[in-house]
Symmetry: C2
Subunit: 267 residues, 2 copies
């Protein structure tokens, strides 16, 4: 699969969202370069407090950038966006089971759904690339690799589950830089949660991610793991709320916010 080409890279966020609204479906890594992408999770109002508390207690995987009023499919992060249709792919969940993957969630929407927009590690990829740190999954035209770990999130009400991480192979000599750069962006997962041995997170095979696609390391690369906004989906699977809509992993909302806005002290 080829995700990134000159054309999608140069799109404005509104142009990208219009393509997805029209039915295009692709992972969004590399699209509308320089603009922040977000994870989506929408639950019924009677579960919204649990989700918001879960996010507050697990800010590194679940940094909340916006929350809608019940039923409102708009977001302050993207002018004119419709959260029901402007992401390239959605997952529909019932009682913790994945029921459907669709490109338009409008038929599943209801007026008691509360939508959470959660920060995404794609945001800091711009900053990493700007300092010359290679991104193997982008070079190789793949979705980023994500893994469910054995680290438990702090529960909140009825919501509990494991932390999910994204992994990037980083040249050993640039790991310090990658830590420094991402530490400055706490609203989009911040510094890595782990560097090196995948076994420490309970990951047995980097070649078999739970979400996304595996990337090939280059000689001298080290695996570096960041908390991931797919964590709420793992919590849905574990906690089984009656209904939820999420983005499909890697298929994000492209917002109007510049990635730089989430870099502390650099605005």
């Amino acid at each position: 699969m080829t995700m990134v080409d000159e054309a999608t890279h140069a799109l404005t966020p509104a142009q990208a969202r219009a393509r997805f609204r029209a039915g295009v479906s692709a992972p969004t890594s590399g699209w509308a370069a320089g603009y922040t992408q977000t994870n989506l999770i929408a639950v019924r109002r009677d579960w919204a407090y649990d989700v918001l508390m879960f996010c507050q207690r697990n800010e590194q995987p679940c940094p909340v950038l916006d929350v809608s009023e019940p039923g409102d499919p708009s977001t302050k992060l993207a002018a004119g966006a419709d959260l029901r249709s402007d992401l390239p792919r959605y997952r529909i969940w019932e009682n913790g089971e994945l029921r459907a993957e669709v490109t338009d969630a409008t038929p599943y929407w209801s007026d008691d759904l509360v939508a959470f927009s959660i920060g995404c590690s794609f945001t800091f990829e711009t900053a990493l690339a700007a300092e010359g740190i290679p991104l193997r999954h982008v070079e190789q035209g793949r979705n980023v690799a994500m893994y469910t770990t054995t680290r438990k999130c702090r529960p909140a009400g009825r919501l509990h589950g494991p932390m999910v991480v994204s992994m990037r192979y980083i040249p050993a000599g640039r790991v310090d830089d990658a830590i420094r750069i991402t530490a400055e962006m706490p609203a989009v997962h911040g510094a890595p949660v782990h560097v090196g041995d995948p076994g420490a997170l309970g990951i047995s095979d980097l070649g078999k991610p739970d979400f996304g696609e595996p990337a090939r390391p280059e000689p001298g690369d080290v695996p570096v793991f960041w908390a991931c906004g797919v964590t709420p989906q793992a919590a849905l699977m574990a906690s089984k709320p009656p209904f939820a809509i999420t983005h499909a992993p890697g298929h994000m909302l492209i917002t109007d916010r510049r990635d730089d806005e989430y870099r502390v002290g650099r605005q």
Copy 2:
């Protein structure tokens, strides 16, 4: 009033909390130097979602550092602390009206109260002082001055109100440094919301703060305004939930967390 002396400055957080539990009541600025202090707001469970949403939507004045389960007076921020008694002074609110100011809130507690611990600008005072920026209110032994502004917070459900700010006089030549230092601490209000003319925030007289005490400027000082954790109290007054307990302005919870923990990229 003299708030700061060698003895209180050198106390551990647990020792300070024990004094307050025993009935001592004083503003906490300068106590247990180097440890983070937090604002308290506790509301009934049926208002907790509104408060949490309000804080998410107004993160600069209301950065949430911890939320309790309903009825639980403990916090992960301070081992063994009892939120009902370990702050030096509390305010009891009914329908948006201040009903009582007490040194022990235990008689007012109930098992459906959810307690929010919110970041406080005292946290960044350590960082300012460490870089040689003078703190006039500390020098003068006063509580920091706080003002209700004409800036509106983004509403959330039933909760709405104005932003409250704390003000510190800073030597003109150090304002840039103060901005840089506090911008690195977004979990405790971050960079100033305004520098200079108080009228731009609708403040008519710096000598008459709405909370706390006025400080005297030194020649060449400029007023610098930071978003303030008393903002939820202004929202209580405006939004009139049936019941709430808060700290009294300036009379904070002293946590076990080091101020440095809230400095991005410096851990």
